[in-house]
């Protein structure tokens, strides 16, 4: 019984949250990685793009709510998602046309792209705040919990409760859906193959008649889909705060690099590695060990590797370690 309690405790506080957070990071890291694979630069504006995507989805959600276009059980934001993707796609395309395409034609160094993306980051940051201000916004509606902690306790007779939020299930499901679609697209369709060819050897791809403009356009659109998904799912699960999205950039970069930047599989794995290590290193295992240990025994201290304040620092620590030991990330070699 005690070991069951321990398992439930751990899945409630460690496993499920990390799985959900990891899925959100994986979606974000996939967006970074796919842009990197084609255009060869790390997009510093990624976090702000996620923020913008979430804000546009929030506005459409509010509009839907005001005209009563809701489902009742599922969050309204899910209905607004396609429109959010569309708006984000348009924005990203506009940025590409007005900022990045110039440098690509001139074949500038990657670092110039990075600086340009810092400029974009500033602008988007300002634009988002101009529209929505800086307050925290909760735009989740519909059914909140699929399993409530109290009901679970009653049903199972265990001391520990297990809660499952709808957003958590949605996040994991949508992430699986998006990732499988992406892999199918990259492996099976003509455009996906062209993208992989372009990423592998640009000159050869151009010689074989791959249209670079089309490849770039598709890449940005895919990244817009991933950006919106990641941003909205994170916002639904926690809440929307403009500042948080800037901070998300760093774990996302960490995830992309840990897996090997430019590697979609690596990005997913990296997302989960970062999320699980963030949660496990800052979780206090005291209660967990008490269940497993002999009756009446309790470990001294909290049995916590790092205090919770260092949650964000863990991802950088992993990042630095990976850069030190294996700069190419877990997967190396051909990208995309």
């Amino acid at each position: 019984m005690d070991s069951l309690n321990a398992i439930v405790l751990l899945s409630n506080y460690v496993f499920i949250p990390s799985l959900v957070y990891g899925s959100q990071l994986a979606l974000g890291a996939l967006g970074v990685t796919i842009v990197f694979g084609i255009m060869r630069f790390a997009n510093f504006a990624h976090g702000e793009m996620m923020s913008f995507a979430t804000v546009s989805t929030i506005f459409i959600t509010w509009w839907f709510q005001s005209i009563g276009f809701t489902t009742g059980i599922l969050p309204t934001a899910l209905l607004a998602l396609p429109f959010g993707i569309l708006i984000t796609g348009l924005l990203v395309w506009a940025i590409e046309r007005s900022v990045f395409s110039y440098y690509r034609q001139r074949k500038s160094k990657p670092v110039i792209f990075v600086i340009a993306s810092v400029g974009v980051m500033f602008m988007l940051n300002g634009v988002v705040r101009l529209f929505i201000g800086t307050d925290e916004i909760i735009f989740m509606d519909g059914l909140k919990f699929l399993i409530k902690a109290g009901e679970f306790k009653k049903w199972s007779g265990l001391k520990e409760g297990l809660a499952l939020k709808q957003t958590q299930v949605l996040t994991v499901l949508l992430a699986i859906l998006a990732v499988s679609w992406l892999f199918w697209f990259l492996q099976k369709t003509k455009m996906g193959k062209a993208m992989r060819a372009f990423s592998d050897n640009e000159d050869l791809a151009l010689l074989s008649g791959v249209d670079p403009e089309k490849v770039v356009r598709t890449t940005w659109f895919i990244s817009a889909v991933l950006i919106t998904l990641a941003g909205v799912l994170y916002g639904l699960d926690k809440s929307y705060k403009p500042l948080i999205y800037f901070h998300l950039l760093l774990p996302i970069f960490a995830a992309a690099i840990v897996g090997g930047i430019g590697q979609p599989l690596g990005a997913i794995l990296g997302g989960y590695i970062v999320a699980f290590s963030e949660v496990t290193t800052t979780y206090a295992f005291k209660k967990f060990l008490r269940y497993l240990g002999p009756e009446g025994w309790s470990p001294e201290g909290l049995v916590q590797l790092l205090s919770t304040e260092y949650k964000f620092a863990v991802s950088f620590l992993i990042l630095v370690l990976v850069l030190l030991i294996r700069p190419t990330g877990l997967f190396k070699g051909r990208v995309l």
């Binding site: 630069f41 790390a42 510093f44 900022v99 110039y102 500038s108 160094k109 990657p110 670092v111 110039i112 990075v114 600086i115 340009a116 810092v118 400029g119 974009v120 980051m121 500033f122 602008m123 988007l124 940051n125 300002g126 634009v127 705040r129 101009l130 529209f131 201000g133 800086t134 800037f246 760093l250 970069f253 960490a254 690099i257 201290g301 205090s307 304040e309 260092y310 964000f312 620092a313 991802s315 950088f316 620590l317 990042l319 630095v320 850069l323 030190l324 700069p327």
Partner: protein
């Protein structure tokens, strides 16, 4: 620039104008530091904030008077923790040096580190708990050395240089955008350490009331020589104007006087660093740095040690930024770890360097002045715009209120726009670098 500051002085107040000038001077030192890294050597350092914050920490640790009680209760454990840390690192280094490579070494290494960490954690927890318990509302940290705060400007440079050495060991040699991400990450780690290690920095409780290198306004208002000075400058007779008006005059004059003192200090530092930077840039060393930046492979073929030069220039630049960080904390009179955010302390400095002209020291200074001025003055201008554009909306209209609330964020948009436009249409900046073979 002087004209712009003059306009602000005449329309808003001289106090505001000088406050902007002081931060312009500090920003100029920061952007000089970044220019040494980016303009001379092409290093994309996204961790400017870490150097700034460490400079600020140095200001606290040098100038704050030591908290005797905290040392009494936690000093021993702190010392033990420190010894453990040093011996763990030394031991790890020895193991790597002496024990032959293989699985045995790996096991010993791992066990040694784990043991060291456990012991460190033990002492550290005791120390931090007991120190933080000492009068937490007032102190709750170890305090500093109680030395004059001006020394901390040098100490700030030294601490930042020390961190840069470590970062350089870790991150230099990575390709440019990896380096950027790594430095960004390290700077965030630094900030979270400063925010959470209360025994060292008081964390988010902030350290206030740092000693000032210049007189206090209140003292000035009391002293006769200052009042005489005000009378002479205004050529006013205190008997002719009302008592209140005269009081106000003395008050604003004391603010101006204090800010001018600061400006004097900052200007001296800026000129010294600017002079040194110009000398370095035109020396054989500067030519070598530019050669490495423009073509690393060719420079390496000529026998230049690229990684070592990069480390050198990275440390130098960080030290300069660290000095600026200590100056900033001195000016504020307080250390607030929570206020360090990357947009303001890393990327804004980048805007300065890009706008001013990478590789040109005067350009970096000019860029800092323009950028900081825009950053500060964009807010009143945006508010004024909003007021005028919205005049057709009624006072209570929620939309109007919203616009007034968000108007300050317009400066982000302006900054981003300026940066993108400069990068696109004048990539060399306002004052381009001379004699360059740069191709991008």
């Amino acid at each position: 620039m002087a004209l712009l500051l003059g306009i602000v002085g005449a329309t808003q107040s001289w106090n505001v104008s000088l406050a902007i000038l002081n931060l312009c001077l500090i920003s100029a030192v920061m952007s000089l530091g970044l220019n040494i890294q980016w303009g001379y050597a092409g290093l994309f350092n996204a961790g400017v904030m870490a150097s700034t914050a460490l400079g600020g920490l140095a200001a606290v640790l040098v100038s704050y008077s030591p908290v005797g009680e905290a040392w009494a209760v936690g000093g021993l454990d702190t010392g033990l923790a420190f010894i453990t840390l040093v011996s763990t690192v030394l031991g790890a280094w020895l193991i790597r040096k002496k024990v032959p490579e293989g699985s045995i070494r790996r096991v010993i290494f791992f066990v040694w580190l784990l043991g060291g960490y456990a012991l460190l954690r033990h002492f550290y927890e005791q120390a931090s708990l007991s120190i933080e318990a000492v009068d937490p509302a007032q102190t709750g940290f170890l305090g500093g050395l109680g030395l004059p705060i001006l020394i901390s400007w040098i100490a700030g440079g030294a601490t930042a240089a020390g961190l840069a050495w470590v970062v350089g060991r870790v991150a230099l040699g990575l390709r440019s955008d990896y380096f950027a991400i790594a430095t960004l990450g390290i700077s965030e780690i630094m900030i979270s350490i400063l925010k959470n290690e209360d025994w060292l920095t008081r964390g988010v409780k902030n350290v206030t009331g740092l000693e000032r290198p210049v007189p206090y306004e209140v003292d000035l208002q009391q002293s006769q020589w200052f009042i005489d000075l005000v009378i002479r400058l205004h050529s006013a007779d205190p008997n002719q104007v009302s008592e209140e008006f005269f009081q106000e005059m003395v008050m604003s004059a004391s603010g101006v006087f204090v800010k001018l003192c600061y400006s004097g200090f900052f200007l001296t530092v800026l000129l010294v660093i600017l002079g040194l930077a110009a000398l370095a840039l035109n020396s054989p060393w500067g030519r070598m740095m530019r050669a490495i930046r423009d073509n690393e492979i060719a420079a390496a073929a000529m026998g230049k040690d690229v990684t070592n030069r990069h480390r050198q220039v990275f440390i130098l630049g960080s030290a300069v930024i660290g000095v600026a960080g200590a100056m900033l904390t001195t000016l504020d009179g307080q250390f607030t770890p929570g206020s360090y955010i990357p947009l303001r302390f890393t990327f804004l400095i980048w805007v300065m360097v890009i706008i001013g002209g990478s590789g040109n020291n005067l350009g970096a200074v000019l860029g800092a002045f323009i950028t900081w001025f825009t950053w500060i003055e964009a807010e009143p201008v945006a508010l004024w715009l909003v007021e005028n554009l919205n005049s057709f909306l009624s006072e209570q209209n929620p939309l109007r209120q919203h616009f007034i609330n968000v108007a300050p964020h317009l400066r982000m948009v302006v900054m981003g726009l300026i940066m993108i436009l400069v990068l696109r249409f004048r990539p060399a900046g306002i004052l381009p670098e001379k004699n360059t073979n740069r191709t991008d």
